[in-house]
């Protein structure tokens, strides 16, 4: 795979070579932590696309999600009977604000919270150890929908939660994730929307002392998907692993923004996102911000983004940012690279009898294999490689 000039300047400079920083490059305007957060809409003007946090976004497609108006649609939830220790409840708009770990960080999620008609809270009682993953399917019937979800994991609890989005919708959401002391949460968000869905989501996770969060995002479907994930390491000894897998084909715009906030000493974070792009006008954006605050001594952090461009015309942006306010850390690094599956590689494989479509599958399987194993929910891992190969088959059908 050759490293191409598809990446931003910054990531190209770091292409393939993991490296560590003494003092880091900061985002152009200010610290990532200074961005406003509020349930009040006036704090967030309608994005024009020129703002730092919207400059890579499909702002025009997302526009309906910036409108301050109630909507009539909703996503239909399916969920199996909940095990003992887990409850799903309706929460009023006012209470939901109170129970969220943070206020929304952009206009789309502030509107989602305001017009959700109240939140749903998935609450795991302290000390509950749930073996089987809890799976929620949210299905859209093509209408506009807004959502506010609270995931609350009590102290010393252990649970896996899989949320899958199917069908189609113009949907915005605000998800608050509260991981209690010494609790472990494995949260998987699957975007398997149909082709015309537009989805903007903000996930804000707060980790208490010794808490562990494994968060995986898989984005395959939708016309536009924009997910903005924040992990606040607010309790000492907490640890977060964020994985992402995305596959964009023609006409899809997938954006994943991440912010890992090291607020206190001795926390650990890993971010690993990989994306494949195929088909003209396939577009992906990855922005990974990591902040190590002055107090956060003993931090150990590493973030990585890799993109694999399979055909001409696709474009991947990759922007890592590391802000470090203390020198007393264990390790901080990032790596970002965009590679191209080029004509020479294709020729090499085909000259060994391997067909064009099998060659692409071989390369894509290899690219994603180790990442899929990290998701940690066998039910999800099993279906994923097939889903990716179906995406590839669709790309080839388009080519013909």
């Amino acid at each position: 795979m050759t490293t191409t000039d598809l990446t931003t300047d910054h990531s190209r400079a770091t292409a393939d070579e993991a490296h560590s920083h003494g003092l880091a490059s900061t985002p152009p305007n200010a610290s990532r932590a200074d961005r406003p957060k509020s349930f009040e809409l006036d704090v967030f003007p309608v994005p024009s696309g020129r703002e730092e946090q919207w400059r890579f976004s499909a702002v025009r497609d997302l526009a309906p999600l910036f409108v301050d108006q109630p909507v009539d649609g909703s996503l239909a939830w399916s969920i199996d009977a909940l095990p003992a220790g887990v409850r799903l409840t309706e929460v009023s708009v006012a209470d939901a604000r109170e129970r969220s770990v943070s206020e929304p960080g952009d206009r789309a999620s502030a509107i989602a919270a305001a017009h959700s008609g109240g939140a749903r809270a998935l609450t795991v009682a302290p000390g509950s150890v749930i073996d089987k993953p809890i799976t929620i399917t949210m299905h859209g019937d093509g209408s506009e929908a807004r959502g506010h979800l609270l995931v609350e994991v009590g102290a010393n609890a252990e649970v896996s939660v899989v949320i899958e989005r199917t069908g189609s919708a113009t949907y915005s959401e605000f998800i608050s994730v509260d991981v209690g002391q010494n609790a472990g949460l494995n949260l998987v968000l699957l975007q398997t929307w149909e082709d015309d869905a537009v989805h903007s989501g903000e996930v804000h996770a707060k980790l208490s002392r010794d808490a562990r969060l494994r968060g995986s995002v898989v984005t395959l479907g939708g016309k536009v998907v924009r997910l903005n994930t924040t992990a606040s390491l607010a309790g000492e000894g907490s640890s977060v692993d964020l994985f992402g897998l995305y596959f964009a084909d023609s006409g899809q715009h997938q954006e994943h923004q991440l912010f890992v906030d090291h607020m206190v000493p001795n926390c650990r974070s890993r971010v690993t996102y990989k994306g494949a792009l195929a088909g003209a006008s396939a577009r992906t954006v990855w922005i990974g911000d990591v902040l190590i605050r002055k107090e956060a001594e003993g931090t150990d952090t590493y973030e990585l983004n890799r993109n694999l461009v399979l055909t001409d015309g696709a474009r991947a942006d990759s922007v890592p940012n590391l802000e470090i306010e203390t020198g007393l850390i264990d390790g901080a690094g990032h790596a970002s690279a965009t590679g191209r599956f080029d004509e020479e590689q294709m020729f090499y494989l085909r000259s060994r009898g391997i067909s064009e479509s099998e060659a692409r599958k071989l390369v894509v399987r290899g690219f994603f294999a180790d990442l899929i194993q990290e998701i940690g929910v066998p039910e999800v891992e099993k279906g994923l490689m097939n889903a990716i190969e179906l995406e590839l088959d669709m790309v080839e059908a388009d080519d013909e």
């Binding site: 090499y348 000259s351 009898g353 064009e356 290899g366």
Partner: protein, 251 residues
Amino acid sequence: MSTLVITDLHVSVETPEGTKEILRGVDLTIDSGHVHAIMGPNGSGKSTLAYSIAGHPKYTITSGTVTLDGEDVLEMSVDERAKAGIFLAMQYPVEVPGVSVSNFLRTAKTAIDGEAPKLRTWVKDVKSSMADLRMDPAFAERNVNEGFSGGEKKRHEILQMELLEPKIAILDETDSGLDVDALRIVSEGVNRVKDKTNVGVLLITHYTRILNYITPDFVHVFVDGRVAEQGGPELAERLEAEGYDRYLTKA
């Protein structure tokens, strides 16, 4: 018994300055079990000939024919040519990150045979071929050509030739950049495959050194996009002594 017949082959490439003709009427016939050495100066078009037979999209065939046992090779896609029995060991093998050697070999073998090889014998075959080529078993789990040294890449090419059992193998400077030990190992590999499968070999080389290990049946001097002279092994000795100057001044 197979025969590859190249007749009056003309090939050009697109360059920023326009279309450039590189092969200017190549005639060559290769039978199973024979080794044809092609020798010629840098830029004479040897790799172009190899790539054109294998079907690289960069090269445009402007006229001429290539047939394998009567079948029109130029009509076939790249993978069809491989399935028909043509193998190209490349001068510069390509790195394919994310794809392990063992997965690659098995996928290629399955594609060429039209069915998956029997697991037990396959694993044994791969192991013993690797051992013969002095390749560490750890290579099986590494990504294709990624981080391989020049010599390791060339051994990996011969490993593929041994496992895929082509009818006609084109070896494009498989000997370049090898030290004497590696040269001997690779040459023994080629001879072993030839004894076992009776493959016909088009051996493109710059140096006569490899011909001490692999005895050619025919030697062709390649100059300026065509065969300028041909003969037996004695021609190689003359080239060793005199170089290509004679052909170049004539051209």
